[in-house]
């Protein structure tokens, strides 16, 4: 892949279609444009009418006005000028996919994704396409057909035929074509270590089936394997592009699999926290279950973790060092909470990473922070972890509270609340 900037594990439509084309899945003729003039040139080269589609990682682009149709070059210029530079759900439109408008006879849905309950890939088909699978499931659950896939046996054309055979208003030849397409989509899913390979809508035209849209999500843990895609290692941020801090955090686990450090900004800019009247704080937990439990205790007290972070699986101290610096680099935070679950990982290493980060962030005070900090170490080597903070003089700060294995999630949240209130009362340490 060469178009565009760094490629994220969730691909844009034009990037997904490039993989589809290479995998033998028909896609409309088209190219990417970044200026109105370029959009006109692409449209003229492929012929009118054309579809002009904003390339953003948001669903329901049609409803959001991000997909338009044009009959001539002037209309292309007008639409492209209107779209470029605008934002869809906070995402700026910098690229347009200009492609031949399809003469659609029927819209269908086809996807391969992972089924966490059976730990298998699953093929999903519906003779009704064009809307979210969740909406489809709510409106007409019977319209969705699923087939779990044995990863060792694979997915053959006849498996595809079993999947689509109940689509009553398709001819036998169309079903055969659809079955072959499903098998190709599965091969693509496996080849690129996908979490999701989705065609919605898959449209029937006079020329056969064509993927009118493409959603391809690569498993972010497989980034190091997918060297051909030139993927940027970064955290999966869902329905938005990753932030610069998430991109920085994504590098931590990119090729170093000694434990993990997953960091996602739940509320970049802390806008939600402010709207809700909550105090934005930085946050790290060992274990996602503990994260949820601690968040449940913090929010009623008036504090909102604007990031999620899970440093578990016995990460190296260097991972903790790096991710702690990233958490503290969120400008809006007014405190920091770290809580481990009752973990078997070496919490002394965890502590060393945090201590090195604090000492570098606060050199003038030897690591004593200028915001309230609570650290709860519960598990293996938790006594060493606590002692390290004493030894390095950080625990002696009035803004720092170190807790041990006797502390509950509620204790940690309440300890933070006390520190924060004292800090707001003027007990501020200059950093």
């Amino acid at each position: 892949m060469s178009e565009g900037d760094g490629i994220m594990p969730r691909l844009y439509e034009y990037q997904g279609k490039k993989l589809f084309r290479a995998g033998g899945i028909p896609v409309p003729e088209g190219r990417v444009a970044t200026t109105p003039q370029e959009a006109q040139e692409v449209a003229q080269s492929i012929g009118f009418p054309v579809a002009i589609k904003a390339q953003v990682l948001a669903g329901k682009r049609g409803k959001a006005g991000a997909i338009k149709f044009a009959e001539d070059a002037d209309e292309v210029y007008h639409i492209a000028s209107n779209l470029l530079g605008k934002s869809i759900r906070g995402m700026e439109i910098t690229r347009l996919l200009v492609e031949k408008k399809l003469n659609i006879k029927k819209e269908l849905y086809l996807a391969i994704t992972a089924d966490p309950s059976s730990r298998q890939p699953v093929a999903i088909f519906s003779a009704v396409g064009g809307m979210d699978i969740e909406e489809m499931a709510a409106q007409d659950p019977g319209a969705i057909i699923k087939k779990k896939i044995d990863i060792l046996r694979g997915f053959r054309d006849y498996d595809g035929l079993n999947l689509v055979r109940k689509a009553g208003d398709l001819s036998g030849a169309e079903k055969l074509s659809l079955a072959a397409l499903a098998a190709k989509l599965y091969r693509l899913y496996r080849q690129y270590d996908c979490k999701l390979a989705e065609i919605n809508p898959l449209v029937l035209t006079d020329e056969g089936f064509v993927a009118a849209d493409a959603r391809v999500d690569i498993d972010d843990d497989a980034v190091s394997r997918q060297t051909g895609l030139e993927l940027e290692a970064m955290e999966d941020a869902g329905e938005r592009p990753p932030t610069p801090l998430e991109i920085a955090a994504g590098k931590i686990d990119a090729f170093d699999h000694r434990g993990s450090a997953h960091f996602v900004q739940l509320d970049p800019g802390a806008q939600y926290a402010r709207e809700m009247g909550l105090v934005p704080i930085g946050f790290d937990c060992v274990g996602t279950g503990a994260s949820l439990a601690v968040m449940d205790e913090l929010v009623p007290l008036g504090y909102y973790p604007i990031n999620f972070c899970d440093t578990s699986g016995n990460p190296t101290a260097s991972k903790l060092y790096r991710v702690t610096k990233i958490i503290f680099s969120q400008p809006e935070i007014q405190g920091y909470v770290f809580v481990s679950c009752v973990s078997s990982q070496q919490l002394d290493n965890t502590a060393r990473g945090i201590i090195k980060a604090l000492k570098e962030l606060y050199p003038a005070t030897g690591g004593k922070p200028n915001i309230p900090v609570v650290l709860a170490f519960r598990g293996a080597w938790d006594d060493v972890a606590q002692r390290l903070f004493e030894d390095h003089g950080i625990a002696q700060s009035p803004l720092v509270k170190i807790l041990g294995r006797e502390a509950t999630e509620k204790d940690a949240a309440e300890a933070f609340d006390r520190l924060y209130r004292a800090w707001q009362g003027g007990d501020k340490v200059e950093g």
Partner: protein, 107 residues
Amino acid sequence: MKDNLLQFEVFSGGKVCIDLEKCKGCVSKVCIEACTGTGKPEAFELREGLPALRVDPAALKKGGCVECLACELDCQLYGNKGLTIVLPMPELDHYLEAAATKPVYMR
């Protein structure tokens, strides 16, 4: 390698640097004791009164150094502050350079 500098790279990207001049004035040589990531000496041994590598730097770069950071932190507390570990984060550096609002630790 400079005569007075002992250094090796670590797996995650970064470098452990020991200023042997400072080590000459260190009584504790605590880095040797601290480097026990798996319960036994790992990277360092004492040779002619100074820290030396007991394994090939290439092996340390492959993960032989478990990056526990104990050598650096203990050196700061009990040694002569001769050991530093540099763990670069270029993406974070770029973010901070461009950030309109500085983080709380810079204020």
